[in-house]
Symmetry: C2
Subunit: 339 residues, 2 copies
């Protein structure tokens, strides 16, 4: 039963590893009732757990190596005993249901592809990011796992995202948009023009046509499919623009005396809003399409973020996201013979 | 002397054509001392000029057709007598120094390519957009003229942008960044990896390496080169994110009573800031690389925006942007034989 398998939590990845990761594990176990296994250096982790008086609540699995935050895909392949590699091993063996890591995205993707392998029929795994639209998030994928993509991959990313939207956010028959540079069918580069044709005929998909950059945060569709290059540029552009807008805002409201007063009163709300936008822009990134789900927490995650990522991983695992994706891809393959 | 040639202003393009366009022309002539020729339906334009008592100050050149805002590239090619086509003709004949249009971008690009032709050695014209960084803008190009690009084009876009930065913003030896998905040289898709190599060896260019989406608004570089697909997605993502951030902000500051009071005091400043960000995100879009400069004003431009666009067109024309680009491209071609 996937429901009862613990989350394998990479304790060595992230800017605040291992202490905030361990604190997140303890929070997930005590406050959320989740099962979590910490993967990393036993000595270090045991000490950290001792600080929380939690050595009996959170088991440790040994991994003596860790990927540095700036280590990329190649380095990760050279480290079969890294914490993320060991976490993958736990999932393959059936000892864990899903993985959470705040480590280097490139390292997680490379290790995951090598050690978990793509699901049958899946051409490439993709990173799905939940954008902070309302009432439900819009899922953008691929947010950076693949710098190059083929039209058939964009169709699969749509299905990966649709499965995620259904299971994690209870969205029935998710609307899927194709990110391009104009709303008409013929707009875009060769990749998206061909993807448009394929998406129109893909079974089990409510294809809503093209969307543009300004539609990312309007909630116009539930899933937006794009190649990992465009998706990553768009995601980081959003992040940078939010920062820019708030910096400009701070200057605008500190310019006059009554405005300063107003700013004082609103400071905490604005700070709260900014934090929400910053966190949510990257929150809930999930690597989909492998034989096992990997939740990629933001590198700067602290205990609360890690705990929330464990909840997302547990939910996706319990809902059977891998099986749901498998069904969708199989249905697509049967009617279209895309590969 | 290019300095004395008037601006050919497409009076029929834009959401508020022809009245706001005509008002912009009158403003440019009276307040800025520019020479402007209105291109469009003489009867309509004469009437509009009469309202400003300006029939003797602004000449009219007849063009009986106009491109609708939703007409794209193909339609524009079928209309040799459209206002934008006639404006191009004036520049080719030497009767105008540059063009301003608030019409359909796709139509302007297609008509400009057909009727003005690319400058010698220029593979493709590109749209440059000035992003609202400080103290000087960062120029992003291509913002959407070419959905597909080759590595050599990205090098040329860098030179087009550098010439624009030098002439319009007095930036000496502009720093050029390549938009991709990681700061290391090997990050990105095939297009940008090859462009990176070519940019490193391009004469007269201060190549500062890769930049990412979150660098677009930080002023880290003066010119950012990218293909028109990625550039357009990034630009529209910025626009959408600014709108989103301000909508969220409005909700955040109207939630509590003291906050409402603060909001009241700050309302005008916030509105002012939002307007600036919205306008500047698209303001100053210029189609570069043709035998003649075309300033693409925002479709929703009113008189002030049109007048400012005429000023930009006059400045670029007077400074000899076409010749400057020609020099740069010639120098690149001699040392590298890219084509």
């Amino acid at each position: 039963m996937s429901e009862t398998r613990p989350i394998a939590l990479d304790a060595m990845g992230g800017d605040h590893a291992p202490h905030e990761i361990v604190a997140g594990a303890v929070h997930a176990v005590r406050e959320r009732g989740l099962q979590v296994v910490l993967v990393g250096s036993p000595r270090v982790l045991y000490e950290a757990l001792t600080d929380h008086d939690a050595t009996k609540e959170v088991p440790i699995v040994r991994a003596e190596e860790a990927l540095a935050m700036d280590e990329g895909a190649l380095a990760s392949l050279r480290r079969p005993r890294s914490s993320i590699a060991v976490a993958c091993h736990l999932v393959r063996r059936g000892d864990a249901g899903a993985i959470v890591s705040a480590g280097s995205t490139a390292g997680i993707v490379a290790t995951g592809r090598l050690r978990l392998k793509a699901q049958q029929g899946v051409l490439r795994p993709a990173i799905a990011v939940a954008l902070p639209t309302r009432p439900k998030p819009t899922l953008l994928l691929d947010a950076g796992a693949n710098a190059e993509a083929k039209p058939e991959m964009l169709v699969q990313f749509a299905h990966l995202g649709a499965a995620y939207a259904e299971l994690a956010y209870d969205i029935e028959d998710p609307r899927v948009g194709l990110l391009t540079i104009g709303s008409e069918a013929e707009k875009g580069n060769k990749l998206v023009k061909r993807a448009y044709e394929l998406l129109q005929g893909s079974p089990g998909l409510q294809f809503a046509g093209n969307v543009e950059g300004h539609d990312l945060l309007t909630g116009k569709v539930d899933v937006i499919t794009t190649d990992g290059f465009t998706g990553n540029v768009a995601l980081k552009t959003m992040e940078g623009t939010v920062r820019y807008a708030f910096t400009e805002l701070r200057e605008a409201i500190s310019g006059s005396r009554p405005a300063r007063l107003g700013a004082f009163m609103q400071r905490s709300r604005i700070r709260e809003l900014r934090r929400r936008l910053d966190a949510e822009a990257y929150g809930g990134a999930v690597l989909l399409g492998l034989n096992g789900t990997v939740v990629i927490a933001h590198g700067s995650s602290k205990a609360q973020g890690i705990s929330a990522a464990c909840q997302l991983a547990a939910d996706l695992s319990a809902e059977g996201i891998v099986a749901r994706i498998g069904d969708r891809i199989a249905a697509t393959g049967r009617s279209h013979r895309l590969w």
